[in-house]
């Protein structure tokens, strides 16, 4: 059996756009004299993805994440460069390639709005030529996992956003694709639905060794699903590697909260201040320090005092990534 691989080589994509002044005057002016410019959405992106990986694509709005996904599924033709999914070029839209992939995009639904999701599933069954037994087996498995069995025969327009997204995912996976691209799969969903979808992705990946490519603005999504991330900024690739390593690289500090059993003496505090940077609130010491320094502080605290309690925390991922995107050059 061929091992699946995706190779993105020097991909660039530009869009022709134009700006116009606001108002009616601007509209008339633009009608007669429109000045076009090229917007470079992607600039020389290189990326290799292996079978069974869950890759998270990170970046701010307009970084080029969705454009990259659209190129990988063949929705767009590149301005330069190439993509190969095994031997297929996505934008040639070979039917065998299309049977191998699927894409779920937050706002572009494939379900028919006026009829129950079960009818759209039947349609996909015919389009992908899925055998009856396999179809029933996959459908039963997924409706159970995503907990939407009782909504199968409800009109799509009457479903909640979360139920609709789950149905979208089921419709996309009925033909058991090997490559699954999810663009903001948890956007606008409540925490229970978000976690259900995350668990489902992990299950599906382990069970079928499917390759997932996911974009999300929720760092919790990325943290819980993706070991590897590809970080983009203004159309360029900034980082390709392990997500936790990136977090450590951006913010190597940890937070220590140490509660003294009784108020510490001034002498103890002054002694500690000579070596470490921390805040003191009543009998609680709070410090943000690198691993090694934090260990030294903790060692010293144990020598000098008794603790009522203490904890060591990583900084929230959301916060870390926010400071990264504010100025990525500082960290890479």
């Amino acid at each position: 059996m061929t091992v699946l691989s995706i190779k993105v080589s020097d991909i660039s994509k530009s869009f022709k756009t134009y700006n116009r002044d606001p108002g009616l005057k601007g509209a008339f002016k633009s009608f007669f004299n429109r000045k076009y410019t090229n917007f470079h959405a992607l600039k020389n992106i290189n990326l290799n993805i292996d079978e069974g990986e869950i890759l998270g694509i990170l970046g701010e709005n307009g970084a080029g994440k969705t454009t990259l996904i659209k190129l990988m599924v063949g929705l767009l033709h590149p301005t330069a460069g190439n993509i190969k999914v095994n031997d297929y070029t996505p934008w040639n839209r070979n039917y065998d390639f299309l049977k191998m992939i699927t894409v779920v995009m937050g706002q572009k639904n494939q379900l028919w709005w006026d009829i129950p999701a079960s009818e759209s599933f039947l349609l996909n069954k015919r389009i992908y030529q899925i055998d009856d037994n396999i179809y029933n087996q996959i459908l039963n498995e997924m409706v159970e996992l995503l907990d939407v069995k009782d909504k199968l025969h409800t009109q799509v327009r009457r479903l909640s956003l979360g139920e609709r997204m789950k149905m979208e995912i089921i419709a996309s996976l009925l033909h058991r694709p090997k490559i699954i691209m999810l663009d903001e799969p948890t956007l606008g969903l409540d925490v229970i639905s978000q976690s259900k979808i995350r668990e489902f992705v992990k299950y599906y990946n382990e069970q079928y060794n499917a390759t997932f490519i996911i974009t999300s603005h929720y760092m919790n999504d990325i943290e819980s699903m993706c070991k590897r991330v590809f970080v983009m900024n203004k159309g360029k690739g900034l980082y390709d590697g392990n997500f936790l390593n990136l977090i450590k690289k951006i913010n190597p500090t940890k937070k220590l909260i140490y509660t003294f059993d009784k108020n510490p003496s001034n002498e103890t505090i002054n002694d500690l201040r000579n070596e470490f940077d921390f805040k003191l609130e009543n009998n609680m010491l709070i410090a943000h320090l690198d691993d090694q320094i934090l260990n030294n502080l903790l060692k010293k605290l144990f020598e000098m005092s008794n603790s009522q309690s203490f904890s060591i925390e990583d900084l929230p991922v959301e916060e870390t990534m926010r400071s990264f995107f504010e100025n990525p050059k500082n960290y890479l």
Partner: protein, 271 residues
Amino acid sequence: MFAWFKKYSSILRASIITALEYKANSIVGLFAILTGLFIEYLIWSMVYASENAAYTIDGWTFNRLIAYIFLSMIIGQLKSSWVTAHEMIMQIRQGFMNQYIVKPISFFSYHLMNFIGTNILFYIPYTILIIIAPIIFKDLIFINFIQIPFFILAVIMSIYLSYSIYFFMVCFAFWFGEVRALLAAYNISMFVLAGQIIPLDFFPKYYQNIIDYTPIPYLIKFPVDIAMALEVNLYQWITSMLIGILWCIIMRSLSGIVYNIGIRRYEAYGS
């Protein structure tokens, strides 16, 4: 072939189910054609009323003209895929086409099936109207039984040809974004130029000569001519049918070429 049929018949099925969801729209749609027919009847009855019973315009008696209009309106309605064409333009412009091109289906055939499925409810009353037409328009429509299969084939050809022409125009949305004005211009001109509201015999001879070199006569005139022929002319019908099929192939190929070039410019807007 069987897999192809199963694939596209399922789109037809889903379209029929969708059409049945909206009862009021379907019922109003069934009677929409009768309004146009009634208006034309009133206009022409006023034109002919001032003359004697044997009065003809370019050889057309009142009854024959009404029979023509009756058939041309039904065929015009059956072949009219402008609603589907508008949807396709919106899908190209707003990026909703994404859902089709990532699937192993043809955008052309998908929407053809969708168009037929949505309109299939109208086919039932129109078929009934055509069945009772020879009784109302005695000795004017379907004088010979052999006309019926040829008429059905000619109507199917008209539907396919008309859809291919619309699809060809829709593809220009890849370049210009909005091309509904082009469709509107085509619709209005076809009402007259294809003979949907008056027979082409009323037009000057030079116009008729020109349109013989275009696919236009195969949209309305050809099927109506078969239904209203006073004598069977198999040789002419088969020849015209072959030319019509050739036009279908030409328009389908042209639209395919324009689509394949245009899709490279598709920008898949939105996420």
